[in-house]
């Protein structure tokens, strides 16, 4: 079997989302159930039809099959905790393609804003407390080291980076699901405080509560369901645990081999992509994705994103849901959700609906840039 054999063999039959933001009256498990119910409604499926369940536990322990399982009241053939959304989608694709499952529900929920998760953990997974000794305590450091290096290597400026936050704020202002919908100018961006220079406040993801669910099935089964299926028409994945030992440690090492796997095994090229979603725990992630997946030349993305190119109506709209600084911080789950809405012409607000999109790409990567996934979604 080859990667190509997986193309168009799985599709998304339904998506569900809770409102995002701060929901102190709901636990992560409550939010997961909520999102799951929404996805069932969207797909037209009954709970009993779901024979595969993937759950991504939230930081802090809830939303885990150990606690969530008995509340689901199900007897799925496959049930597992996974670490990332990209992984859940990959496993679900394989399961339905191979016939091990018919309908796989993938879900993630968290109430980390209510729980005041701080993420003041190590930046690199250094043994002992070598990170702490030197004051390296925030995972955003990796993107900050990257952008400083980009400034040196390619003459990037701090103002150029701000184009991403500004574009995403404009998109978020149109998204009813976005937590922060106020506009942001480049002056606002530059006037905001540094958190870890050269990165400022608007370069960092927020912390938010919420839940998402995606239901994956085969095209044959999706045909009998009410919603237009969204096909998985390309996929790539790659991990890299070399951290600082990798020669390209500053430029998201696993993304380039991931891109090769994606493009060599699908019928699309970067110029076919009508919108891109990037898991942007930190804004420099957008630049890395644009270069590594071949949307622009290596070392030029900070220039490429200027002038509205990545905004709605631009050459390649990026994160038209508003990104993790403005929409919600849901570890990439919001990317698949919004891509599906866009492809089904259900973007909620006419102003944010992409004009009749057919092919959208989404990428997922961890804040420390160790694991990556990429998908082409097609209507």
């Amino acid at each position: 079997m080859a990667v190509r054999d997986l193309l168009d063999r799985a599709c998304i039959a339904g998506v569900g989302a809770t409102p995002q933001g701060q929901w102190p009256e709901y636990s992560a498990d409550d939010l997961a159930i909520w999102a799951f119910r929404e996805a069932l409604k969207d797909s037209g499926l009954r709970k009993a039809a779901i024979d595969g369940v993937f759950v991504q536990p939230s930081f802090g322990g809830q939303g885990d099959l150990k606690t969530l399982g008995h509340r689901l009241g199900m007897e799925p053939r496959v049930a597992a905790n996974v670490d990332f959304h990209g992984q859940a989608l990959q496993f679900a694709t394989l399961l339905v393609h191979q016939g091990l499952c018919n309908y796989v529900a993938c879900m993630y929920a968290t109430n980390q804003r209510t729980n005041r998760n701080r993420f003041a953990s190590t930046a690199y997974h250094l043994g002992g407390n070598f990170d702490d000794v030197y004051g390296l305590s925030n995972p955003g450091s990796v993107a900050a080291f990257n952008y400083r290096r980009r400034m040196h290597d390619f003459g990037a400026t701090e103002e150029q980076l701000g184009a991403i936050a500004v574009a995403q704020a404009r998109a978020a202002s149109l998204n009813p699901l976005a937590v922060y919908r106020s506009p942001l100018t480049i002056e606002d961006y530059l006037n905001a405080r540094y958190v870890i220079a050269p990165l400022r406040l608007m370069d960092f993801c927020m912390i938010s509560d919420g839940g998402f669910c995606v239901i994956v099935t085969t095209p044959e089964r999706a045909r009998d369901l009410p919603k237009t299926p969204v096909f998985i028409s390309g996929l790539g994945s790659q991990a890299c645990f070399l951290e600082l030992e990798h020669p390209d440690a500053m430029y998201h090492p696993p993304q380039r081999p991931n891109a090769s796997m994606l493009w060599e095994n699908c019928d699309y090229a970067p110029e076919d992509i009508e919108a891109l979603y990037v898991q942007d725990a930190y804004t420099p992630n957008v630049l890395a994705a644009l270069e590594n997946y071949g949307f622009c030349e290596f070392g030029t993305a900070h220039e490429w994103v200027q002038g509205g190119r990545i905004e709605l109506g631009g050459e390649l709209p990026v994160n038209v849901h508003g990104g993790q600084n403005r929409m919600t911080y849901m570890l990439g789950w919001q990317n698949t959700h919004d891509a599906v809405l866009q492809l089904r012409h259900e973007a909620m607000e006419p102003a944010r609906q992409l004009p009749d999109p057919e092919v959208i790409m989404a990428t997922y990567s961890t804040g420390l840039w160790q694991e990556t996934w990429s998908y082409i979604f097609r209507r």
């Binding site: 043994g127 004051g135 290096r149 220079a197």
Partner: protein, 136 residues
């Protein structure tokens, strides 16, 4: 002198040679006896060949600034009160990249590629932390 309020090394059997070396004025790194791969922080096995036989060797302590950042918000005790402070990745002459702090120059003079050398910061009578300063 004010008490050192920042995190101190948690010394264990695996990393003890590094911190004891620092007290003796040597920047010790771990080397795999199987393939010569260097590591710091030390690991229970070589991440190159997975061998578990390792030795400790003194690095030249010389290198260049590979990248650096400036924390304007502090999360850790001691550091919290000293923002903005820098954290740097130093690429040693031996090729290994290590995380540290740069001392002895204002931040606006820090540059990627700048030659630096280890400087042993005696933060308490018992503990010395290697940091890096400009090399002339």
């Amino acid at each position: 002198m004010a008490e050192y309020a920042k995190p101190l090394p948690v010394v264990n059997d695996l990393n003890r040679p590094h911190w004891e070396g620092a007290r003796d004025g040597r920047f010790m790194v771990q080397r795999c006896l199987g393939c010569g791969h260097l590591a710091l922080p030390p690991m229970p096995n070589c991440s190159g060949c997975l061998e578990t036989s390792m030795e400790w060797v003194a690095s030249s302590g010389r290198g260049v600034v590979f990248s650096w950042i400036e924390y304007h918000q502090g999360w850790l005790p001691g550091y919290r009160d000293e923002t903005p402070y820098n954290v740097a990745i130093v690429e040693l002459e031996e090729g290994l990249r290590v995380v540290s702090n740069l001392v002895g120059l204002p931040h606006d003079q820090i540059a990627i590629g700048m030659p630096v050398e280890v400087w042993f910061d005696e933060v308490t009578p018992q503990v010395t932390i290697p940091r890096f300063r400009p090399r002339v």
